[in-house]
């Protein structure tokens, strides 16, 4: 009995150690640049850069498929940060991707809401709470202001409200300076 328990335990421990060793020895590192770029993006997941989210956009920048000026929510601060990270020249935001707007928040006009769940499906960050035929509402802290929920609403009850600054939301602004295209 004891030998059986011992033999199996030892076998298990040896295999566990070997697997642990292999996990370290054969560790696969992803591209660290993608993580760095992703951390600079605003994580609105709005898709205005033409990529499905912030991480795919970061991947595309790292691969050289996308330019750094395609992120309207990030604005010039993000472009500047990306230019510093990648050691490229900053350039103004590409107007094809959108324009820089003050940060907004989606607000659902609750009496008008018919509970169709279409905006819930559109929300990339799961910031809308509700169920079929029940009133929906936006979780303000989770909302990134991406506006993706506005278009699908059949009764147009979602409005984008600019975030007003008060003592609880005010932060030091990023140092933003005007960017101009470098003369060729």
């Amino acid at each position: 009995m004891i030998t059986a328990v011992l033999a199996l335990s030892i076998l298990g421990i040896v295999f566990g150690l070997l697997l642990g060793f292999a996990a370290i020895r054969f560790k696969v590192e992803g591209n660290p640049l993608v993580d760095q770029i992703d951390s600079l993006l605003p994580q609105t997941q709005c898709g205005q850069c033409t990529y499905p989210g912030c991480r795919p956009y970061a991947q595309a920048i790292a691969n050289g498929d996308a330019d750094i000026n395609q992120c309207p929510p990030g604005g010039e601060a993000t472009i500047q940060a990306l230019a510093d990270l990648l050691d490229r020249d900053p350039k103004p935001l590409n107007p094809e991707n959108g324009i820089i707007k003050p940060k907004t928040l989606a607000v659902i006009d609750e009496p008008t809401c018919i509970g169709c769940t279409l905006c819930i499906q559109a929300c990339p960050v799961d910031a809308i709470l509700g169920a079929a035929k029940q009133m929906h509402t936006v979780i303000a802290e989770e909302c990134t202001g991406c506006e993706l929920c506005v278009a699908p609403c059949p009764v147009d009850c979602i409005k984008m409200v600019p975030v007003e600054q008060d003592l609880s939301t005010w932060t030091w602004p990023y140092p933003v300076y005007e960017l101009t295209e470098k003369p060729a």
Partner: protein, 193 residues
């Protein structure tokens, strides 16, 4: 030498694991819908079956038999197989990202392929030595791969065929598998003894 060739022919054709021993039927039915995935699964299984056949032979001969713990065979072999599969996955992930992309999701599935455990247990039952075990495992894997790929190719054609509604889907797949099994019975006289 003839002995090894006999083992190979016997496991690939005469005693095919899927069609005559009815082992490993889950991946046989599960991943045979598309030829590409079937090929990936076949490759991964070939590798793991051969490796685990060798490893479980070693575990049985050098650990279980000297200690008189033959009754722990099944659980030990499951442990060995799980280890081999995990280890293989890690090594392939590191060394060959391309191969990992092809085999990736199939590798962990192999742990639950009963043909893998079946080969390990049959090795012991038939008292094979080291090389015989390796050849037996490899033969079983080649037989499995061949049948899986053939079956996937057939299913791709059947998907386009005009099957009566009551027989569509898994029903016609099982009928096909049965007919294939019947056809493989024809090999039973190929090797005597």
């Amino acid at each position: 030498m003839t002995e090894y060739i006999l083992i190979l022919v016997s496991t690939i054709l005469v005693n095919n694991f899927v069609l005559t021993k009815f082992l490993g039927l889950c991946p046989f039915m599960g991943v045979s819908r598309k030829l590409e995935t079937a090929t990936g699964m076949a490759l991964a299984t070939t590798f793991v079956l051969t490796m685990s056949s060798i490893c479980s032979y070693l575990a049985n001969t050098y650990l279980l038999a000297p200690l008189g713990l033959e009754y722990l065979r099944t659980i030990t072999f499951i442990l060995v197989i799980a280890f081999v599969v995990q280890f293989t996955e890690m090594v392939i992930h590191k060394t060959s990202p391309l191969l990992y992309k092809v085999l990736g999701i199939f590798l962990p599935l192999i742990t639950t392929n009963c043909a893998v455990l079946g080969v390990a247990l049959l090795n012991v039952q038939q008292e094979f030595n080291f090389l015989q075990s390796a050849v037996y495992g490899f033969g079983a894997a080649v037989g499995f791969s061949m049948v899986l790929i053939l079956f996937a190719a057939m299913r791709e054609r059947i998907a386009a065929a005009d099957v009566p509604i009551a027989f569509r889907g898994p029903a016609i797949a099982l009928v096909t598998a049965g007919l294939m099994s019947l056809a493989f019975m024809g090999f039973s006289g190929l090797v005597r003894g």
